[in-house]
């Protein structure tokens, strides 16, 4: 397949593009929709909303998830909130401002047309979720309440206590459950996608593995949607759920879908620092805490007094000092690096000196403990449960951790990958956040894609296929993919080496974190690119998976996922190496101002890097999609 990256951006002014598109899109008549089968992989916000909506429209939908129920998707863990340009607070918000903030937050590395559409439909999402019964926070008058998130100077974030993701996902899950109950959706739980099948340059379906009995089965469809989440677990320690992985997207990539900007990963500034070597994951403390918490470190690296006894004059409120106009609400990448620099300079706090303080004592004095508890009570409890300290009395200790991945499958304006009939939605695609995502924008994007974009764009692809036969699962390409998948999983069992998949995962994670984490250098990336293939070879020779392929085997599942993380890790380092600039979450130490701020190179790098698989992840081919800024002027990002 030759790679063409046609973004298919509609003509016209930025304000009209989406309407023009919808007016011109081909339609499938209501009675004909049931003649089309659509596969949705993933039941998070993006997958559940897409599947429910397409089923409501009349398509036959099959949904797959490796979880035991669609309600468990990782979207459930989002805490802080969801953005929408409702301007309910009358503080000057608008579609244009949300659009602008998102482009700027992404350090001018996203596609204008997609981001504008996202801002446009953001308002519909809130309406839709309220009609599903999502109990968003309310003011006493009964109206919806809002808060602020990083990178914005307006209050446009809707929330449901500290469990916004849970409530939104349950809303979408319930909408999906209704369609399952009505027989319009077939739901496949504990079923993992292990391959994607393309026939005659079009996506023909998928191959799955039943995690309970190991059965490998093919499914054919007119179109396939990947709503399979992000790859932040490549770092091993991250805020993602344990099972989050890149396998689905990676298998699509290996079958011809280009993978865009893999090096754009987000390190979230407010996580609980690691406390023990056995630690399996890191816990996020919602960014909303930065509305009222102040980030500081002691000025003296040898400070030993408890936080409360350090006088004001001996504290360095790093974000307020460096970024006075945004203060503690500076964007994530900027805040993370500020914390890293403080710790690197020896001013870290806590027993391992691996964190910075997030202090609520001013807020408690100003607002009273009750108000603080009302706003953040459950987050404070969660912190205490994990860290064993009470944040009402002692400041929290926080440190950055891998959290979100802006990179993902390359998609065009219709959210279609470069493989016709294969779509990607939610965190799995690369589309809207450029080099850095603003807080509360992932939930917005997942639901925008699933509710308001895909259901339109998919019809445009399907309409001309009406009454044309598609290859069935007896096609040799499906059979070959099934055999390959069986061989792959049997292969892990047959290695019979000495080390568990977790051992290798920890090792890959360490390399990626050290050399392709918050700060990257040419030298470090080159080192990673020599260490990773060596470790990968060891994986292929020395892996140990006990048990068999025919029954529930969590070690085997993990082996497949770690294998794909290895290959992705190499591509991430390649991508980071070739992008000789700093932008958003991609910070190359060689490209910074005297004050340590990221320096972009718009001449050379105002483009998307989309990688083509060649069979060897260190030899993938780099393609470019130029980014044209028509509605917004490229500017240096400043939050001072």
């Amino acid at each position: 397949m030759t790679i063409t990256l046609n973004s298919k951006i509609p003509a016209g002014s930025i304000n009209d593009k989406w309407n023009t598109y919808k007016e011109d899109a081909k339609l499938v008549a209501p009675g004909n929709k049931r003649k089309f089968k659509v596969i949705v992989v993933g039941s998070g916000l993006a997958g559940a909303s897409a599947a429910a909506t397409m089923a409501e429209l009349g398509y036959q939908v099959d949904v797959f998830t490796f979880h035991d129920s669609p309600r468990r998707a990782h979207s459930i863990a989002a805490q802080g909130g969801i953005n929408a340009a409702k301007n309910y607070q009358g503080d000057g918000d608008s579609v244009h401002r949300l659009f602008y903030d998102t482009i700027k937050g992404g350090d001018f590395r996203s596609r204008e047309a997609n981001v504008h559409r996202l801002a446009e439909v953001s308002v519909n999402i809130i309406d839709q979720m309220v009609s599903q019964g999502v109990p968003f926070a309310r003011e006493y008058g009964g109206m919806l309440d809002n808060r602020s998130f990083g990178g914005a100077q307006v209050s446009r974030t809707f929330y449901a206590r500290g469990q916004t993701g849970q409530q939104l996902l349950l809303g979408a899950y319930q909408q999906l459950a209704r369609q399952i109950g009505l027989g319009n959706v077939r739901m496949f739980n504990r079923t993992e996608l292990v391959d994607v099948v393309t026939i005659e340059d079009r996506c023909a379906g998928i191959v799955t593995r039943d995690l309970v009995n190991g059965e490998v089965v093919s499914h054919s469809a007119h179109a396939v949607v990947m709503a399979t989440g992000g790859y932040g677990n490549v770092f091993y320690l991250s805020t993602n759920a344990m099972a989050c992985n890149v396998t689905a997207a990676w298998r699509a990539h290996r079958n011809g879908a280009t993978f865009a900007n893999p090096c754009y990963t987000q390190i979230h500034p407010t996580c609980i620092p690691q406390s023990d070597p056995t630690q399996s994951k890191l816990t996020l403390m919602s960014e909303s805490l930065r509305n009222d918490g102040r980030v500081w470190v002691p000025q003296n690296p040898d400070e030993t007094r408890p936080a409360a006894q350090v006088p004001e004059t001996e504290r360095d409120y790093i974000l307020e000092r460096l970024y006075p106009s945004y203060g503690n609400l500076a964007p994530r990448d900027i805040s993370s690096r500020a914390a890293k620099r403080s710790v690197d300079s020896g001013r870290g706090v806590g027993p391992l000196k691996n964190g910075v303080y997030l202090d609520f004592s001013d807020a408690i004095n100003r607002l009273g403990k009750d108000v603080v508890e009302e706003r953040y009570g459950n987050l404070f409890e969660m912190y205490e449960r994990i860290a064993g300290e009470n944040p009402y009395d002692m400041p929290m200790r926080i440190y950055p951790a891998s959290h979100y991945t802006m990179g993902g499958l390359w998609v065009d304006y219709e959210l279609m990958t470069n493989i016709p009939g294969l779509y990607a939605a939610g965190e799995a695609n690369f589309s809207d956040h450029g080099a850095n995502r603003l807080g509360a924008s992932a939930l917005m994007q997942g639901l925008a894609d699933g509710y308001f974009v895909l259901p339109y764009t998919i019809g445009n692809y399907l309409a001309p296929m009406l009454n044309k036969p598609i290859p069935g699962t007896d096609h040799p390409a499906f059979k070959a993919a099934e055999l390959a998948a069986q061989a792959r999983y049997q292969g892990y069992v047959d290695i019979k080496g000495t080390r568990s998949p977790d051992y290798f995962h920890r090792e890959v994670g360490r390399i990626i974190w050290d050399y392709c984490g918050m700060e990257r250098t040419q030298q470090g990336l080159e080192k990673a690119l020599s260490e990773l293939p060596a470790l990968y070879e060891e994986f292929q020779k020395d892996l140990r998976v006990t048990g068999d392929t025919e029954s529930m085997n969590q070690t085997l599942e993990k082996a497949g996922r770690v294998d794909d993380f290895f290959q992705l890790g190499m591509l991430m380092c390649r991508d980071a190496l070739e992008r000789e600039e700093s932008c958003g979450g991609h910070f190359r130490a060689e490209y910074q101002t005297d004050e340590g701020e990221a320096t972009r190179d718009d001449e050379k790098f105002a483009h998307v890097a989309a990688w083509e698989w060649t069979g060897d992840p260190t030899k993938s081919i780099r393609h470019q999609e130029e980014l044209n800024f028509e509605a917004i002027h490229l500017a240096t990002r400043s939050y001072k």
Partner: protein, 258 residues
Amino acid sequence: MSNHLKNLKLKIWRQSGPTDKGHFEDHIMPEISDEASFLEMLDVLNEGLIGENKLPVVFDHDCREGICGTCSLMINGQAHGPERSTATCQLHMRKFKSGDEIVIEPWRASAFPIIKDLMVDRSAFDRIIESGGFISANTGGAPDANLIPIPKSVADAAMDSAQCIGCGACVAACPNGAANLFTAAKIAHLNLLPQGQAERFKRTEAMVETMDEYFGSCTNHGECEAACPKEISIDVIALMNKDYRKSKFKNRKEISRN
């Protein structure tokens, strides 16, 4: 700073599949940091088992933040273990001491068949939601979100019940294996809100009857409330029962009107 627990005696349920009869297996955990979570302790055990070329213990888990509802262990006879309002994954080893014997079992309930070891099949919960745990509002036609003001107290009460994570501890803790707390939490969430009124009685009737198909019946033991990691109040069950009684009357009236 972290301390280390020594010499924990683990008694773990092993069962190769749904038809296997199952048995307890003893393991010693020589040392573990008190900063480790309970599941991290099991991770360490499993690494060790793989090292000895044995099968690791299968257990369900994912977010490890107490929100996805996947983790599900009976620890010393208590669903989710000894700490109140805490899911298994949020339980830390500092709640235990050196030399403790810890018995680890799966959820035991006839509606939750065991898949392997500590992993069970909770899809009966999905059946309850599919039967009516939703508001029928198709994508697209929703009115402006602020059109219907909802008093803060109502939104808060709905949120209290909506916090259920669908873990099934309530069922596992109940001597009858009843799912009343889970079902009532969803019914209360939706029936309290203005948006949920149109289907209120239809929803209640369908959900309660689906629940009865799969689960045992409630005899007011209250074990569910004590086990619930989200502190869902048993009051929601009274609310559900009231709406269920009304539904019998209201739904019939509606049918006769059509």
